[in-house]
């Protein structure tokens, strides 16, 4: 059981049918005689980041000592406001595949592209007089023609052997650098995943199209979102109340949680080994023998983030950009002089 009052305040209670104590109460005037005013030094002292996993495509990290309103802002920005590059305009020169032009264009738009968006500026879509230029538009080209493969052995039924270009993959998309784009994007611009199937063709069918990619945000269209998922959960807490559970009871208690959450020590007593692994299924609250013996909860200021990138950027870049974008929002508002 948590005896520390300030730690108790930071617990969201989990009952069998409801959650309790959900709102933050760390505001001045809420607790008599306590100073809850914003203090950056206090924040710096309490705030911690622990990264447990970071790869090119996914990341898991903890933000500890921050309010839900702020970490939720980071999450929302990662999903909807971090700009990325995506195919927006498709100029179809030839499409004799069975996929209709508009469906093909839509499929192409959803392909995540690996490109550093910092080197591009916004293409002003709503201005009809504006023509695309090399600093706001990236040109890609896709051409594929399916032909019969005369050297395939008779009796083969696999279309990939029978025909050339039976499947068109995202790897067939070619970057056409405009202006100085070859300097800005020395590694070229390619699909983040080369194995995305775009269309299937049969001999005589052909796809030939030019694509214009522009910057956008997830708020406008999900194809611009740099993340597949960006979510957080609060750290679960389990408190055993009263005398330790032993023997059969301890075994049953242990089986109410996922593997590794509860362990039994040398004295045969059940103890909480790793509450983080708990899925908070609340199974333990369904059994009357544990009534009043356990308190489930979540730590209100401990966020376990999980970010999966689409491949356009690494997860750490996405998070850093979300923090910078929240600051930028404030900077913009700060520029206005409301006093006049």
């Amino acid at each position: 059981m948590v005896h520390n009052i300030s730690a108790q305040r930071n617990r969201v209670g989990i009952e069998h049918d409801r959650v309790t104590n959900v709102s933050s109460t760390d505001f001045p005037g809420y607790y008599p005689g306590e100073d809850q005013a914003w203090n950056i030094d206090k924040f710096k002292k309490n705030f911690k980041i622990q990264i447990s996993n970071l790869t090119d495509l996914s990341s898991s990290f903890d933000l500890i000592g921050i309010d839900a309103s702020i970490s939720n802002a980071f999450r929302r920005i990662m999903i909807a406001e971090v700009p990325t590059l995506a195919i927006e305009y498709v100029y179809i020169e030839n499409n004799t595949s069975i996929i209709q032009d508009e469906v093909l264009a839509h499929r192409l738009g959803l392909i995540p592209l690996k490109a550093n968006p910092d080197y591009l500026r916004w293409f002003k879509k709503d201005d009809p007089d504006i023509e695309p230029t090399d600093y706001d538009t990236v040109v890609l080209h896709l051409s594929a023609k399916c032909t019969a493969n005369p050297s395939s052995t008779p009796g083969t039924t696999d279309p990939k052997v029978l025909y050339n270009n039976a499947n068109v993959y995202a790897s067939a998309i070619k970057f056409e650098p405009q202006g100085r784009q070859a300097e800005w994007f020395p590694d070229g611009i390619t699909a983040a995943n080369p194995d995305i199937l775009i269309a299937k063709l049969r001999p005589g069918q052909e796809i030939d199209l030019t694509m214009h990619c522009i910057l956008g945000i997830g708020q406008d269209h999900a194809k611009f979102s740099p993340v597949a998922t960006a979510s957080y959960r609060l750290l679960p807490t389990i408190d055993i109340i009263g005398p330790p559970m032993t023997g059969q009871l301890a075994q049953k208690f242990k089986s109410c949680f996922p593997e590794g959450v509860i362990a039994i020590n040398s004295k045969g007593e059940a103890y909480v080994k790793d509450a983080r692994k708990d899925t908070v299924s609340r199974e333990v609250l369904r059994h009357s023998e544990f009534e009043g013996r356990v308190k489930l909860g979540r730590q209100r200021d401990h966020f376990i983030f999980n970010v999966e990138s689409t491949g356009a950027m690494t997860p750490d870049e996405i998070f850093i950009k979300s923090v910078q974008l929240l600051k930028r929002k404030c900077q913009i508002l700060r520029k206005f002089d409301l006093r006049t």
């Binding site: 005013a37 702020i70 090399d134 405009q178 923090v323 910078q324 929240l326 913009i332």
Partner: protein, 143 residues
């Protein structure tokens, strides 16, 4: 590519622009802000108290992302009696923010302090995250 590029395929304005981009990046270590800012991005709504200690603001093109974060930071100010935000209609991209103070400071001052505090917080979160990435105390294989 049409317009702005000459027959060599080199955009006439690209050189200057690229320098601008690089300058910007060197200046603040962040990616540049694009587009013009709406001059009416934030407006004070009619009906503020005479002494300016209670006022409502209308912020365009903002939602719960900034609304809730800013509300929290302003509520952390001991001089603020009340702060709340709302999105009056889901199809209007606007957020209303209400601030009432105890009278020591004006609502505008409370808003400015809220914004400053939030920026300071963001700076610290970014620093800490960069430190954590650099420290490298994490697994690097796909889970």
């Amino acid at each position: 590519m049409p317009s702005a590029t000459n027959e060599n395929g080199v955009s006439e304005s690209s050189e200057a622009l690229q320098e601008q981009i690089v300058d910007q990046e060197m200046a603040d270590g962040e990616f540049e802000f694009e587009g013009e800012i709406d001059p009416n991005k934030i407006q004070m709504l009619p009906g503020a108290s005479e002494d300016g200690t209670a006022a409502s603001f209308r912020i365009l093109q903002e939602d719960h992302t900034l609304g809730n974060a800013l509300r929290y930071m302003i509520m952390k100010n001991p001089n603020v009696e009340f702060c709340g935000y709302s999105i009056p209609h889901p199809s209007e991209a606007a957020m209303n923010l209400r601030i009432q103070t105890y009278g020591e400071i004006s609502a505008i001052q409370a808003l400015e302090k809220g914004l400053d505090d939030l920026m300071e917080l963001c700076d610290h979160v970014e620093d800490e995250y960069r430190k954590a990435v650099e420290a490298g105390e994490y697994s690097t294989f796909e889970p």
